[in-house]
């Protein structure tokens, strides 16, 4: 679904990503791990065209994404759940859920209603709290809401930026399990995580990013066992 070929990204004069390539196909959960400042978030921001790469190419569903505005990419099914959840605090949980799906072509009121039921089944707490303002949810509830909001848009590819940030371990487990089953159902999931070991346990495939370069790639299972490698890269 996503092909990244040799991208270089700089913000101002500072190079952030160097010669990064990766592939993401349907039904796979790929994780990108690395230390703070390694360029993980920038990678996701580049994939959703918030940041333009200096060189290299990105294709989504076989077509180059260069020049497509972020909101159009999102409507086309490349949905990015940003760091810090970004729940609109002044809107209710329900409004937050619908706000993206409302803008996707081909999603009519019925489909959206079905989507709501599906997400309420996935995270029952959202159903209980659907009329509460988004700003009044706990961190874990907000993260569930953020994932559900993205799924409401019927994505083909889901990008997640540190969904574990600031969450209790059980909540992290809930979220990661949900991601795993989404991938098993055929979604393409790219997970950027700081909690490397948990991410490796969940993912099919992993890339270790170190100072903007892919230092190591392989099946998550293999990397997971190679403890020495992990420690030297993730410090």
């Amino acid at each position: 679904m996503i092909e990244v070929d040799h991208i270089d990204v700089a913000i101002g004069p500072v190079g952030i990503l160097h010669d990064v390539s990766l592939r993401l196909t349907q039904g796979r959960l790929v994780t990108v791990i690395g230390a703070n400042g390694a360029g993980k978030t920038t990678l996701l921001r580049t994939l959703s065209n918030i940041v333009t790469p200096r060189s290299g190419a990105i294709r989504f569903g076989g077509k180059p994404t260069a020049g497509i505005k972020p909101h159009l990419l999102a409507r086309a099914g490349l949905v990015h759940v940003p760091q810090g959840r970004q729940i609109v605090p002044g809107l209710t949980v329900r409004d937050n859920l619908v706000i993206g799906a409302d803008r996707v072509a081909g999603l009519d009121a019925d489909t959206i209603a079905q989507g709501l039921e599906r997400e309420f089944a996935r995270f029952p707490v959202l159903k209980e709290r659907q009329h509460i303002l988004g700003g009044n949810l706990s961190g874990g509830e907000q993260q569930m809401l953020a994932v559900s909001r993205a799924l409401m848009m019927r994505p083909k590819v889901l990008l997640l930026d540190e969904p574990s940030l600031g969450l209790a371990p059980q909540v992290v487990t809930t979220i990661l399990k949900a991601l795993r089953s989404l991938a098993d159902d055929g979604l393409a999931v790219l997970l950027v995580e700081q909690l490397a070991l948990l991410a490796l346990d969940t993912a099919d495939e992993a890339h270790v990013l170190q100072r903007g370069r892919v230092a190591l790639s392989g099946p998550a299972h293999d990397l997971r066992r190679d403890r020495a490698v992990i420690e030297s890269y993730l410090g």
Binding site: S48, H71, P82, Q86, P89, G90, I99, R103
Partner: protein
């Protein structure tokens, strides 16, 4: 002051207050979505007033004239965003933090000059919108009030109501809240952020235009009247706390009422007292009378 006097002043005050509220709504919504606003909002109002005078005196029927004003104002709002706001984003750091104050104020000067060339510098009155003559008085509970004022108050409240529906009820209103919260994140939920920004500036221009149409029959209209309306609308928005849409309504009505009475009390400097009061209020309560409505997010 007789009781009759009191009511008449109150009605005039509410009429002006409703217009200030409308104008301030435009400031509120652009500030909400972009943290910027049009320092020529009053001049947009002036353009709306002159456009309606021009069309009404040329014999265009009132409903068509209003429609015409709305079209003109929508285009102006778009042009303002396109040429005075958007280029600043492209400059990024090289633009000063408050360059938008100067670019919007500069656009206002251009508008003043254009109207001056078209209509001359002298003051004029718009023909009444809702009745045949300016001094058509109706009797409500024994109090005679000008029909024109009553109709203006009703119209203004209908527009304010529509504005609230837009903000709280429509999907575009929700998009405005999302952009206000975090534009980058909003684009990730599929919201066309640039479209929302254009929308709020167009909407602000429309609010100014409607205010201009309504204010025409009430006060004398001249090309340099805009500044004072900008200042008063800013004051009203500040009293309401800029981020609190209900506060702006209350602030506008309070301001209009206070102004009517202080003008009666001191005909020379009466219009300055409410402004001085607002400035003093801001020094004491920087977020206005009603504070900011904001859910705490971390």
């Amino acid at each position: 002051m007789t009781l009759l006097n009191f009511f008449q002043l109150l009605v005039s005050g509410i009429a002006m207050g409703a217009i200030y509220t409308l104008t301030a709504k435009g400031l509120f919504i652009t500030h909400l979505a972009t943290h910027r606003l049009n320092f020529g909002q009053g001049d947009f109002l002036m353009v709306g007033a002159f456009a309606s005078i021009g069309m009404l005196t040329a014999g265009v029927p009132a409903p068509l004239a209003v429609l015409g004003v709305l079209v003109i104002m929508g285009v102006l709002g778009y042009l303002l965003e396109r040429f005075a706001i958007r280029p600043l984003d492209r400059l990024g750091d090289r633009a000063g933090a408050y360059s938008w104050v100067l670019t919007t104020a500069g656009s206002a000067l251009i508008l003043q000059n254009i109207v001056e060339l078209g209509f001359g510098k002298s003051a004029q009155y718009a023909p009444p919108l809702f009745s045949k003559t300016r001094d058509n008085v109706i009797n409500i509970f024994g109090v005679g009030i000008f029909f024109e004022e009553a109709a203006i108050i009703i119209t203004a409240f209908v527009v304010v109501g529509a504005f609230y529906w837009f903000l709280f009820g429509s999907r575009w209103g929700k998009a405005v809240y999302a952009v206000a919260f975090n534009p980058e994140a909003a684009s990730l939920f599929g919201i066309d952020v640039r479209g929302v920004v254009v929308l709020v500036f167009v909407l602000a221009a429309l609010m100014a235009g409607i205010s201009g149409v309504l204010v025409g029959p009430l006060v004398s209209v001249h090309p340099h009247m805009g500044l004072i309306f900008t200042i008063k609308a800013l004051a009203v928005a500040a009293v309401g706390g800029f981020t609190n849409p209900v506060g702006i309504l209350v602030g506008g009505l309070l301001f209009g009422g206070a102004e009517a009475f202080s003008n009666y009390w001191d005909s020379a400097f009466g219009d300055l007292y409410p402004l001085l009061f607002v400035m003093a209020l801001l020094a004491v309560r920087p977020s206005g009378l009603f504070g900011e409505r904001r859910a705490d997010v971390r």
